[in-house]
Subunit: 84 residues, 2 copies
Amino acid sequence: MKARVTVYPRREILDPQGKAIQGALSRIGFSEVREVRAGKSFEIDLGTDDAQSAGERLAQMCEKLLANTVVEEYRIELVNGAGA
Amino acid sequence: MKARVTVYPRREILDPQGKAIQGALSRIGFSEVREVRAGKSFEIDLGTDDAQSAGERLAQMCEKLLANTVVEEYRIELVNGAGA
């Protein structure tokens, strides 16, 4: 089963990287961009087909390694087998 | 309209960051992880409601700034209004 984990700065935390990208886009002609948030994305291939246990294990990975939950929030999406 | 842009190293390019994360996960008990790919994610708020022009503009942003298309590939997803 594959999963996608996305990690973003929390809404209440400043996102200087996103702000810088927005500024850069604006300067090269993309002035319609209102806001950019910059985060990380991980595609993870798990050796299990059980969606529920996969979701639990992925949440543990996020808490322990992939995200700093003090300043970041994460989202887990199961890519195949998500309906199980 | 909001969009999500994901940028990953191309399949044929080594992904040392993903490899390092996989190793770290394995060492802390997540040995079921077969592969990790590490990339970037951008959430972009555009001042337009036209899905087609939004898609075109986002592709230009990727080519010009968000991705280095020599070594990276990008994917664009429109988050709302995607069905238009």
